[in-house]
Amino acid sequence: MRNLFLFLWKYNFFLLFLFMESLCVYLVIRNNNFQHASVLNSANKMAASIQSVVNSITEYINLRTENDALARENSALRSFIPDATYLDSVQRRFMNDTLYKQQYTFMTARVINNSINRRNNYLTLNKGSKHGVVPEMGVVCSGGIVGIVKDVSENFCTVISFLHKDAKISARVKKNDYIGSMVWEGFDASAGNLKEIARHVNVQKGDTVVTSSFSAIFPEGIVIGTVSEVDKNTSDNFYNIKVRLSTQFGSLSHVYIISNLLKGEQRQLESAQNNDR
């Protein structure tokens, strides 16, 4: 026993280092795991309030462009309201009432922290469990997709940005409906990569890429970006497609959190098949 204490005392510095380093690595691994809530996140009150100071300043500076974007979006939305359309049959009104049930609801939120310069980027939004946000909700903006909610506190939530090594979003080429998945390979915040599109498919520069219907997180048909480069010279049977993202990740300010009212049902049904495998 005495020797043990002597040993501990002799190497106290190294042992303390080992203990703290393993604590850190534990935190990192826990944070990398999507299923676990991370311990250190900017959704806590102090960090969020300090960051919102910076944010209110930058937001004021960007007010003009933000107003323009909102006005553009307003004008686009105005064209969809009933007053702006010509109702050509009674049938349609009927369908609106009973055939189309609400599947997605959108909640607006403000971005109070955002980064694009790391390999794994996160956002913090000013909506939390108080407003009904739960993990794994999708986040979009008027330009395109943004990310997926990770941790939720009472008033804030953190979002895994699409600019993250683990972000993988099911996507399809709009003109011919081929399904692939979008990932981000780092460095350039304005470009992503579309994977798993076979080489026989006709894909050209300028084609639009949208979200597919496979995901329970994003509604179908939200614009992700346009194809900017198609590389056939790959060793496998798939293209290497570069996509110019339509979301301006560097200047996000107002975003929408999507909740899928039927997600529970879809997940439950699909998990029954997973057990089968």
Binding site: E21, N31, V39, N41, Q51, T58, N120, K165
Partner: protein, 178 residues
């Protein structure tokens, strides 16, 4: 003693605020994000107990992790750096050792010494941090390049901050007279 504690706690908060409010928003095509906050560990007085350096390093890293959603990566890197500090100080010690109560600065120990010290420590921190951030070996060389580029920028920032803000004690402006 009290003065040193106050000085260092002020430096702690100042560096955290600069890092969170300014440098975390520096964006240059996703390649560059300088980390100047480690200057706090670099400038701790030489007589600080080793275990205290470790604890302070951990605390500094955890605070930064909280602000930047990195969940322990900064803490791991700063703890490693704090662990390496006594060894690095021994490695690059002047021929006749450190005098007691020497300030770790470019004025008391010379620019060459300070530069070597900063470069070694920044490299240790950045390599650990960037490899932890990527956490996979398939991007090995890209990560290495990123760590090197960022280290260079951090070293330049740390040296300029040191010359701008650290005041010389004792003989004033000796550096500029030379």
């Amino acid at each position: 003693m009290i003065v040193k504690i106050l000085q260092n706690s002020f430096r702690f908060f100042f560096l955290i605020l600069i890092q969170v409010w300014v440098l975390n928003h520096v964006q240059w095509n996703g390649y560059v994000n300088p980390y100047i906050y480690i200057l706090f560990i670099l400038l701790l007085p030489i007589e600080t107990p080793k275990w205290l350096v470790l604890l302070l390093g951990f605390f500094l890293g955890v605070v930064l992790d909280m602000f930047s959603n990195t969940g322990g990566m900064h803490a791991a890197a700063t703890v490693f750096m704090a662990f390496a500090r006594p060894g690095v100080l021994r490695l690059i010690a002047p021929r006749d050792g450190y005098e007691s109560e020497t300030r770790l600065s470019a004025w008391s120990l010379g620019f060459k010494w300070f530069f070597t010290y900063v470069v070694i420590m920044v490299l240790l921190h950045h390599l650990v941090y960037f490899y932890l951030e990527v956490f996979r070996f398939s991007e090995f060389f890209m990560t290495f390049a990123k760590a090197m580029l960022n280290s260079a920028i951090t070293v330049v920032l740390i040296l300029s901050a040191h010359y701008l803000f650290s005041r010389q004690q004792g003989v004033k402006n000796e550096y500029f007279k030379r």
